[in-house]
Homo-oligomer: 461 residues x 2
């Protein structure tokens, strides 16, 4: 029997989950994780909540500690940066403190993650990355830095109104800072939901902070080595404004970290991520890749998509871990990109591409939208919920769904299940949902959105 | 063009919805509803919450009032009892006060509902139905009677620990009464969920009231025309107990009201309900039936099942109304029986047959169960949720799911969608569910239950 020697590069959610499932699959496999940071597997998605204090300390985010890895007989090497891979000889060469570490493998899992994108802002770069007072939010150390700086800050500016930008903005508002967000696109959450859904969130967000859409940051000014202002520019009018800010957080997306993958000849896709299949295999034999460094297929458009969601990263990690250790695990043929968050108690969720993505791929579709209550009208305490769906104009097949309000995430999960199985909007409108006065209405807003869409489709024929 | 003359017998959720959708489908159809009670369409399911006072008055349950029917040009005849139908001449003969009303139709919709089953308890029947102080809970008048009697009562006994029995028991506990439930079966909710799920509810319910399982009520004793005691008997030991009770509520199920259907030759099924198809048609041409008087097919077992859920009743009403008025509406090939309720803040939900029903039909299946939290471990405020699934032993096809705890109903709706499309448990375990720290964990208990089941199935091979 072959002796499994598995090396995993990166100890985040993707790498850590790979290790965990490799071990579950094969009690005798030799499993080693190289992690350049100082912390064992932790939840990146939890970082904004350590800033708000909802999670009392960043250390709480550690999901599997060193002891756990030891107990599972997984070699976890922290503070260890892989410098190169000799793919012919199956050897990884890494640096730990000043020592060189060499280790051989017959299965390799790349979980190298992504690096935050730093927009071209004048004065933003110091000699060790971004200047003091400016932060990205990818690591526990980033969060700790923000928490420290925040204590002596009165105002904060966030670059980017995506999920992480908004989550971080809310955290800072909760800590009493005056917060603004600078977003280059005309609206918040532009890559997450359609305009009519994001506008509901915007209405709530605007009660707590200022969002400058259609604006970019052009320059930061510092004084005594501390950020004092950020200059922002209206993309349409070119008008400039100077915004006093003590802390600047860049949440403008990230790019996959693929230098090692490139070095060993893994094929990269058009998004720049490592191409992987439904077994999390790269194009190089015996080499798997998982997480934010990879691209996979969107189930609806068929187009490659960068993986930037913890939920998908973990599922890829399961597949890579099981397969690398001699088991068999196949992911669905594409990702649904089911996503959610909560802003100032307003839950938002979505599955599938947004309308603008579908338009880009020339998919003809029809929308339905329903605004209702989480409970029957006669029962007190119902909360608003809006569900929107999109279905293929020809076949009626469900393509996407978005929701905002009460239990949006679980309602969107119903669509995730339906979309995965190719359900049509005409079937969804008939779905028997659970009803009881204190729980949900007879006809749930989730099916009524499909009803509206189904009627529109029929009228078109 | 044919002139549509639609008569609907019964103005409950089924009849009312039929009328509403007949009108939506055909603005010129002649639509008449005969309702023997005094109230226009109201929610039966809301009745227990008028007893607890959560809904301030039973009149709040009226979802469509007489004015609404007038506006929609639907003839609503309240206090009107249909006595017979001349099917050859297409005429309905009814009694309104002391007058006889005759009306002709070319489409007939039977929505005659069900009558509560009264167990053979000594002294329970008076000359006008059950004696003073004893109630069933099917109508607004029943609820009003209970509310009146409750004011001078200190103790209550409920016969039956199904959904309605438990909902009513909770309402009475909330009003400060000492409550007990008498259930002939060995456990509560025996027809709703499996034993391991009902035991979680039982633990909560037992904190608030006493449940006598395996007991039947044999006799009531009254004094001055008022109930004083109920005698209950242990089915195993035959031991008898006398329980002081000021109010007795019978929630022991009901039987379909099919006398008119029988009279005109509609075929009844083995359950005693009117047989209907996916268009809500009976076996008699031009005659439809909806709601608690009908039986339809269970999607999983294929066996006939009595319709006793408001959610299904309304969907049948849509089908009957649309089809009777010249449109076309087809229901799924069977019912999922998606159901939910909440007891003392514990949400319970289920879809598909219970384990014991599957065993009765000799279906071989395997279960998976997962107890987890509604949120990631590191995020505060997560609430427990248990999900249980059953899958076909051969094919892995999902057969049923049950849940208790946080958002059980919407989680079970995810399974409803999956089961409708024939999803396997192996697919469900890979479903990409929405994840964000304040909303749901990376791997939701809903998919982890399928994961457990999937592993068990694989181990069997």
């Amino acid at each position: 029997m072959e002796a499994y020697k598995i090396i995993i590069i990166g100890g985040g959610a993707g790498g850590g989950t790979s290790a965990q499932f490799a071990r579950k699959t094969n009690r005798r496999a030799d499993v080693t994780v190289f992690e350049k940071g100082l912390y064992p597997q932790y939840s990146k998605c939890g970082l904004p909540y350590t800033i708000s204090g909802v999670i009392p300390s960043a250390d709480h985010l550690i999901e599997f500690n060193e002891e756990w890895f030891k107990k599972e007989k997984i070699n976890l090497l922290l503070d260890t940066t892989v410098e190169r891979i000799n793919i012919d000889e199956h050897v990884v060469i890494a640096k730990r403190n000043k020592d060189e570490v060499e280790a051989s493998f017959n299965r390799l899992i790349l979980a190298t993650g992504a690096e935050p994108f730093i927009p071209p802002i004048k004065n933003i770069m110091g000699k060790d990355g971004v200047i003091n007072g400016a932060y990205t939010l990818r690591t526990i150390d980033d969060a700790k830095g923000i928490i420290n700086t925040m204590k002596k800050s009165r105002s904060a500016t966030i670059i980017g109104a995506g999920l992480i930008g908004l989550e971080t903005a809310e955290a800072l508002v909760k800590k009493g800072l005056k917060v603004c967000i600078v977003e280059a696109l005309p609206r918040i959450l532009a890559n997450t939901v359609d305009e009519d859904i994001s506008s509901v969130i915007a209405e709530e967000v605007n009660k707590h902070l200022r969002v400058y859409t259609n604006h970019i940051a052009t320059e930061v000014n510092k004084e005594d080595d501390t950020i004092k202002h950020v200059v922002i520019k209206n993309k349409e009018t070119n008008e400039e404004q100077v915004i006093p800010t003590d802390i600047l957080i860049i949440a403008a997306g990230c790019k996959p970290e693929v230098s090692l993958a490139k070095q060993i000849g893994c094929r990269l896709g058009e998004t720049g991520g490592i191409m992987v299949n439904e077994r999390s295999e790269t194009t190089v034999d015996g080499v798997y890749a998982v997480g934010d460094c990879t691209e996979y297929k969107d189930l609806i458009t068929g187009a490659p998509i960068l993986i930037g969601l913890g939920s998908i990263v973990v599922r890829q990690g399961i597949a890579a871990g099981v397969n690398a250790a001699g088991g068999s695990y196949t992911l669905p043929a594409g990702v649904l990109y089911t996503r959610t968050s909560r802003f100032f108690d307003l839950e938002v969720a979505a599955v599938g591409p947004t309308a603008s993505t579908l338009e880009r791929y020339n998919v003809s579709f029809v929308n339905g939208r329903f605004k209702g209550s989480s409970l029957p009208d006669y029962y007190p305490g119902g909360e608003p919920v809006i569900i929107k769906v999109g279905a293929d104009e020809e076949s009626g097949r469900l393509l996407y769904a978005q929701g905002v309000g009460c239990n949006a995430a679980q309602r969107i999960n119903v669509y995730a299940s339906a979309i995965l199985k190719g359900m049509s909007v005409h079937e969804m409108k008939r779905l028997e949902t659970a009803y009881a006065p204190p729980v949900a209405p007879t006809l749930d807003p989730l099916t009524l959105a499909s009803d509206v869409c189904s009627m529109k489709l029929k009228r078109k024929r």
